[in-house]
Symmetry: C2
C-alpha cells in the first residue's frame, strides 16, 4: 500500500469518527442565503432581468424534468453522449435547486434528490472512467477536471435542497457519494488537485464547496491549503507538460489565488483559461464569504479576484470576445456563463461598480441568486453606466514583475493593439515573446491563431487538443513576432520557457497623439537581445490611427530572421515583384514551418515594401523598411495537415538573412472602407509616401514617416534609459530634437 | 464620314430646328410632381421614416456643399478619384434638387445650378475619356455606362430646379450639355445604346429622362424604341462577348422591358444585375408614368416591372442578400439604394402591397419623393406586414419557356435551395447548368462562387472584371454541378450556350414533407442527357430538413464525371481513407481546373461516402452513393492565381471515370450546432445509416434513406412522365408502391 493510499484510508477513518452533518435550518448558505432568498421571493415579478432569467431557467429545467432522469454508465470523451449527459445533469441540478428555493415547488427538490440518489447508487461501485487518455482519470468523466466541475455545481444543488432531505438521506448521500467523490478528485488524484493550475482550482473549489455544505472542515481546509506535499509524489507531471510541485511548496485554493494572478488581476494562462477559471474562483469565494466571512476572501491578495474580473473584461475586443492569447478558442466572450457569474459576483461583492451593469445588460441574464438579484435590481433602478475600455498595461506574475500584456486603444476601440511580453503562461503558454495582434472594431486585422482544437467536438480528436496545437499553434512562427533561424523561442521547450519572461521597458498611454509600449526579451534566443516598441499614433494627416512597430535586434551572431504578419483578408496590392510557384511546398520541416505553404516569393523593389489587403470591408497597408537582400514571402497555413485541422489562413512575411544587429520598422495603417452594398471604395490607398529609419545607434532609434502631402512625423526612442525625467537631445538631418522621457513623437511638420 | 456620323449630324440638325424647351411652371414632373411636393411639405415632421431620410440626406448634401464643387478633368478608372468624384456629384445633385423642392431653400438650387454650369463649361470641349479599355468610351467616365448613370440622376436634378433657372440658363445647359451628352451615349455609341442588355437600359433611361424634362419627344422616342438598326453597324460585339444586334431587330427601353424579363419577373442576367438594372427601369418608368401616363408603362408586358421587384426580393437569402447567380458580387442586398427605389416605386405604383413596407422598414430609408412619402406614411399608419419568402419557381426567357430558377424553402428560411436550370443569362452568364447552392438562415452551406471581381476597387484590375472571371468563375467546375471530361458546358462558348437552355421537368412545392424540382439538360454535352432532381425533405426522424439530390446521366459514350461540393467551413470527418500530397499541384490545365489545388485524394471505403463539415456554428454531412472505382478529391481554389484574385475556398469532389449511364445520389444533411461561447456541440453526427439507389431504370429511379433508428424513407421519381395525374406503380424489394404524379415520397416506415 502506498503512502498515498494509507493516508487516504487514515483520513477516511478519521472522518468516520467525527460528525459530518451540518445543522438543519441553516441552509441554503453556500451561494444563496436564507435572507437573500426571502428578498428574491418578495420582489419576484418586479425585477425584469431577474424575472426573465427565472423564466428562461424554469423553461429549461421543466423541459429536462419532462425528459426524465438519465445517469448513464460513463463511456465517452467530451462530445460523446455520456459525457454531455452528465455535464448537462449537473447544470440542471444546480438550476433545479435554485428554482426550488425561489418558487418553493417540491417538484424541483424531488428532481434533484432523485437524480442524486441515482448517482449515489451508481457511484459506490464505479471504477475509473474507461477512457485512459487523462493524467488524472475521473469516474463520471474521462478526466478529474470534469468530475470536479460536477461537484462544484452539485454542491450548490445539494445546499439548496439540504433542508428538504431527511437526515438519513443526507447521511447516505454524503457517505456514499459526496465524500468519496471529493476524495477521488483530491487524495486519489494529487497530480490533479495539488497544482497551481486552473485544473486544480476546480478541484479545490469542488472539495471546498461540498465541505462547506456538509460543514466538514477537513474538506474545507484541504481545499484551501491542498494536501501536504510530503504525502504525495511530486515528480509526476501532468499531460500538458506542467509540474505538480510548486516551487514554493504551496497548494490549494489560496495558492491558486495568489500565484497565477498578477497584482493587476492578469491570469498567467491568458484570458481563455481565466474565463474558465473565474467560475470556480468566484463561486467558491462567494461560498467562503457566505459561510466563512472571517476569511475575508474577497480582500485576499489585494482584492485580486475583483481586479481579475476587471482585467478579464478588458482583455476583450469591441464585441466582448476574449483575445486568444496562448491556448484560447476564438469566439469565447463575456456572454459565457462563467462571465455572467463573474460580473454578478464582482458587482455584488466589489462595491457595486455600475459599469458592470452594462455588461450584464448585454449578457441578457443574471444568476438566480443574491448576486444576480442585486444586479437585476440595480439595472431596473437605472444605475447602468457604460463599460468603456481604455488602454491598459497588465503585469504578469504573482509579484507583477514577469512581463505583462499591454492593450493600446482609444475609447472607440477603432484600433486595438494586444502586445504580449508576458511569462510563459504555464502549460497553456505559447512561444510568442513580443508578439502582437491587432483589431479594428472587433474584427481581426492581424490575428493570433489561438489554439488548434475544436473544444468538445468529438469528431476532431475527441474535442481535445490536437497534435497541431503543439506542432503549429504553440510555435513561434504561428505568431506575429520574430523568429531566429527558423527555431521557436526557447527552442519550444517548456522547461526553458517557464523559467523566463520578457521585461517591460516602458508603457505610456498618456499622450493623445501616441500611446507607446516597449519591451525587451533576452532569453528567447541566448546571445540575442530583442526590443520591440509599438506606438499607436493619431496623426492629423491620416484618417485613422496607425501602428508603428520598431523591432530592434542585437545579436552576437549572424542569423536569419522571419517576421510574419497574419493578415486577415484578401491581398489587394504590393509594390514588388514576386514569383508564384506552380506547385506549393512547405516552407520548412519543423518548428511549425512544416505547416506553411509558400504561395509566393519576391524581393523588395524599393526602400519601402508595401503590402495592402482588404478585410471585413476595410483596407490596410503594411509599409516596411526593407533591405535589397530581404526576401518577401506569401505563406498559407495547411501543409502537413492531413486531418484538415488547421485553418487555411495567410501571412505575409519579411525574411532577412545573415543579419547581426538589425532593425525592422513597419507601419500597419488602416484606411478607408468598402461596402458590397454601396460598392463604394473609400480611401483605399496608403497615405504613407516614405517610412525611414533616420537614426539608429546604441542610444537612440528614430523613424520618420512622410505622408503623401510631404509632411513628416518623427518618432524617437531612447534605447537605454526609460526614465520619464531624463532629458535627451538628438540631431537628425540637421534638425535638433529635445525631449524628456523614453520617447519623442512629433506630428506632421 | 460613316453612316452613323451622318445620321448623328442629321439628327442634330433636325433637333436644332424644333423647340426643345419645355414650358415653365410644369416642373417638377419627372419623379417628383407638383402635387406630391405640396403634400410632402404639408406633412413634414409627422412621417418618421420620411423625416429621418430627409435629415440624413440633408446632412449629407450640406457636408458636400461645405466641401465645395469639384468637377475634375476625367482621368481614372472606377475607384480612382475623378471617377468617384463625378459619381458622387451626380448622386448629390439629385439629392440637392430634391431638398430644394421640399425645403424651398435656394442654396440647394444654387448648388445644382453651379455644378451644372461647371459641367457645361467642361463638356463642350471634352474629348473621349483617356482610358481606352471600354467598348464604348464615355466622356466623364471611362465607359458610356457611367455617363448614362450620370444623366439618369442629373435629369432628375435638372427637373427639380427647372423653374428656378432662367430660360436662357436652360437653353445653354440643354444646348451645350444635355443634348450632346444624350447624343454621345446613344447615336455616337450604338454598341452601348442599342442592345438588349442592362447597359443599354441605363442608356435608354438616361436619354429618355432628359428628353422628358426637356420635353424633347425625339429623345423620348429614341429612348423607347432605340436607333433604327439600318443606321448602325450591327456586327460589332461588346467587350463581354455579347451581340449588339437583337434577333428580333428591337432596341430601346420597351425592348429591354420585354426581353430580359420572364413573365415571372426573372431577369435573365441574374439578381445582381437585376438589382443594378432595376433603378433605370423603375425610375424611367416612374418618369414615363408621370409625364406620359397614356403609355401605361407599369401595365406593360403583364405588369412585368412590378413582378420583377417581387421576383428580385425573392432571390435573396434570409438576410436579404441576393443569390450570386451568374456574375454577382456577394453581399449585395436589398439594402442597396436601387432596391430602396424599387421597393418604394413598386409600393406606390403597384397597389400598395403591405409586405413591401417591412422591407422599407429594414432599409431604414425612403426616397424623398411621392413614392417614398407614400411608403413612409403607410409605415407610420401601421400598415406593415412581413415579407415572408416561400418557395418559388421563376421561369426564364421572354416567354417563360427557357428554363428557370427554383428556390425551395420554408417560411423560416432554415434551409434554402437555389437551383438554376436557366438560359445562358446573356454576357454575364455562367456555364453552370443544373447547378445549385444551399443556404441555412442566410449563411452559405454550399456556395456559388459568384464573380471574380472587386467592384470599384481600383487596385484590383481597376475595379473591373478580372481575367479569373473567365478562367475560373464562369467555368462549370466553379459550380456545384456536373462536369464531363473536365470540359465546361457548351465548351464554355457563349455562342453555343446562348442558343440553349435547360428544361423544367416538374416543380412541386405543395407537399409539406417534400418540395421537389426536377430539370433536364440535353445540350451542355451533346450526346449526354442530364436530369437533376432536388427534393427538400422534412422527415420526422431528422432534426432539420435535408436535401436529396438525384443526378441521372444518360450518355452515348463513356466519360469522366466530376461533381464538386463547394462546402463552406472546416472538414470534420470522413469515412474513407485518403492521401494528402506533400506538395500541392493543380488538378488540371484548363477550363478552371488549373485554379484548383488537390489537397487530398482517396477512394470510397463503403457503399456510402460520408463527408462532414462545420460552418457558421452548424454541422453538415454529405452522404453520397459511391462506387468502389470512384475517386474522392479535396480541392482548394488558388492555383495559377498570381495576383491573389481568388478566394482560397475548398471543395469536396466526387469523380467517376469511364461511366456511361450513371447516377449520383447524394443527401446534404444539416444537423445541430456549435457555439464557441457555450462550447456545446449539439447533434453533431449524421442521422443517415444508409443511402441507396434501390431502383433505377428508364422509367423509374428510387432512393431509400435509412436513418440511425433503422427506419427507411423512399423517394421515387417517374423519369418519363411529369403529368400530375398519371398513375404509377412499382415494386421494390417486394414492396409495392402506388402513386400519381411525377414523384412519390414516403417518410420513415
Amino acid at each position: 500500500m502506498t503512502t498515498l493510499r494509507k493516508t487516504a484510508l487514515f483520513l477516511m477513518l478519521l472522518v468516520a469518527t467525527v460528525p459530518t452533518l451540518a445543522a438543519e435550518g441553516e441552509h441554503p448558505k453556500l451561494i444563496m442565503t436564507k435572507a437573500g432568498v426571502e428578498k428574491i421571493r418578495a420582489e419576484l415579478g418586479s425585477v425584469p432581468l431577474f424575472d426573465a432569467s427565472l423564466q428562461s431557467v424554469r423553461a429549461e429545467v421543466d423541459a429536462e424534468i419532462e425528459l426524465g432522469i438519465d445517469t448513464p454508465v460513463p463511456l465517452d470523451y467530451s462530445g460523446g453522449y455520456t459525457h454531455e449527459r452528465h455535464k448537462r445533469n449537473f447544470f440542471i441540478m444546480q438550476k433545479a435547486g435554485v428554482l426550488y428555493q425561489i418558487l418553493e415547488d417540491d417538484k424541483y427538490a424531488n428532481y434533484v434528490r432523485d437524480m442524486l440518489f441515482q448517482y449515489e447508487a451508481m457511484y459506490k461501485d464505479l471504477p475509473l472512467h474507461p477512457k485512459t487518455r487523462s493524467y488524472a482519470r475521473g469516474k463520471l468523466f474521462w478526466q478529474c477536471l470534469n468530475d470536479a466541475n460536477w461537484l462544484v455545481y452539485v454542491s450548490q444543488a445539494y445546499d439548496t435542497i439540504y433542508d428538504y432531505l431527511s437526515a438519513e438521506e443526507r447521511a447516505t448521500l454524503e457517505k456514499n457519494l459526496f465524500r468519496p467523490f471529493a476524495d477521488h478528485i483530491s487524495i486519489d488524484s494529487p497530480q490533479f488537485f495539488n497544482r497551481v493550475h486552473n485544473h486544480s482550482t476546480w478541484g479545490n473549489a469542488a472539495v471546498g464547496m461540498i465541505g462547506l455544505v456538509m460543514d466538514d472542515d477537513e474538506l474545507v481546509q484541504r481545499a484551501l491549503h491542498g494536501i501536504p506535499f510530503d504525502e504525495i509524489d511530486t515528480a509526476a507531471k501532468d499531460n500538458d507538460g506542467g509540474f505538480i510541485y510548486d516551487k514554493d511548496g504551496r497548494a490549494g485554493f489560496l495558492a491558486n489565488l495568489d500565484e497565477p494572478f498578477s497584482p493587476d488581476g492578469y491570469y498567467t494562462e491568458g484570458p481563455y483559461y481565466q474565463r474558465y477559471a473565474m467560475y470556480p474562483f468566484l463561486i467558491f469565494a462567494q461560498g467562503l464569504h457566505n459561510a466563512k466571512p472571517e476569511l475575508k476572501i474577497f480582500e485576499n491578495n489585494g482584492e485580486v479576484l475583483l481586479k481579475a474580473v476587471d482585467a478579464l473584461l478588458n482583455l476583450s475586443d469591441a464585441d466582448g470576445e476574449f483575445f486568444p492569447l496562448n491556448d484560447g478558442q476564438k469566439g469565447m466572450s463575456w456572454h459565457a456563463g462563467s462571465i455572467v457569474t463573474a460580473v454578478d459576483i464582482a458587482y455584488h461583492m466589489g462595491g457595486e461598480d455600475p459599469r458592470l451593469l452594462s455588461i450584464a445588460e448585454a449578457q441578457g441574464q443574471v444568476l438566480l441568486d443574491d448576486a444576480g438579484f442585486a444586479v437585476a435590481a440595480a439595472i431596473r433602478d437605472g444605475k447602468t453606466q457604460p463599460f468603456a475600455k481604455a488602454s491598459v498595461n497588465l503585469s504578469d506574475g504573482p509579484d507583477g514583475t514577469q512581463g505583462g500584456v499591454a492593450i493600446l486603444r482609444y475609447g472607440d476601440e477603432d484600433l486595438t493593439l494586444v502586445y504580449k511580453y508576458a511569462a510563459q503562461g504555464l502549460s497553456h503558454g505559447h512561444y510568442d515573446k513580443l508578439s502582437y495582434s491587432l483589431y479594428e472594431k472587433g474584427d481581426e486585422v492581424l490575428q493570433d491563431y489561438g489554439l488548434a482544437r475544436f473544444v468538445n467536438i468529438e469528431q476532431k480528436g475527441g474535442g481535445n487538443y490536437l497534435k497541431e496545437n503543439k506542432t503549429w499553434a504553440k510555435q513561434t512562427i504561428a505568431h506575429n513576432t520574430i523568429i531566429q533561424n527558423e527555431t521557436s523561442h526557447f527552442k519550444g521547450k517548456y522547461e526553458i520557457g517557464s523559467r523566463h519572461h520578457s521585461e517591460l521597458y516602458f508603457y505610456d498611454d498618456t499622450n493623445s497623439e501616441a500611446q507607446v509600449v516597449s519591451a525587451t526579451e533576452s532569453n528567447a534566443y541566448p546571445g540575442t537581445e530583442l526590443q520591440r516598441t509599438m506606438a499607436m499614433i493619431k496623426n492629423r494627416n491620416f484618417s485613422k490611427r496607425f501602428l508603428l512597430d520598431i523591432l530592434k535586434v542585437r545579436s552576437d551572431t549572424k542569423n536569419q530572421y522571419d517576421l510574419p504578419f497574419y493578415f486577415m483578408g484578401q491581398v489587394l496590392q504590393v509594390n514588388f515583384d514576386y514569383d508564384t510557384p506552380s506547385t506549393l511546398s512547405a516552407l520548412g520541416k519543423k518548428n511549425g514551418y512544416q505547416h506553411l505553404y509558400v504561395e509566393g516569393q519576391g524581393s523588395p523593389g524599393a526602400d519601402n515594401t508595401k503590402f495592402s489587403w482588404m478585410g471585413h470591408g476595410k483596407f490596410y497597408t503594411l509599409t516596411a523598411v526593407t533591405e535589397d537582400s530581404d526576401e518577401l514571402l506569401f505563406t498559407r497555413i495547411g501543409a502537413n495537415d492531413p486531418e484538415f485541422n488547421l485553418r487555411r489562413d495567410a501571412a505575409f512575411m519579411l525574411r532577412r538573412k545573415a543579419a547581426g544587429d538589425t532593425i525592422f520598422a513597419t507601419v500597419v495603417e488602416p484606411h478607408g472602407s468598402y461596402s458590397p452594398v454601396s460598392e463604394l471604395a473609400l480611401d483605399s490607398n496608403s497615405n504613407i509616401a516614405a517610412l525611414n529609419v533616420v537614426h539608429d545607434d546604441e542610444n537612440y532609434t528614430a523613424v520618420a514617416i512622410e505622408d503623401l502631402e510631404g509632411h513628416t512625423s518623427v518618432f524617437i526612442l531612447a534605447n537605454t534609459d526609460a526614465s520619464v525625467t531624463t532629458k535627451h537631445q538628438l540631431k537628425i538631418d540637421g534638425r535638433k530634437y529635445h525631449w524628456a522621457g523614453p520617447y519623442h513623437y512629433s506630428g506632421p511638420d
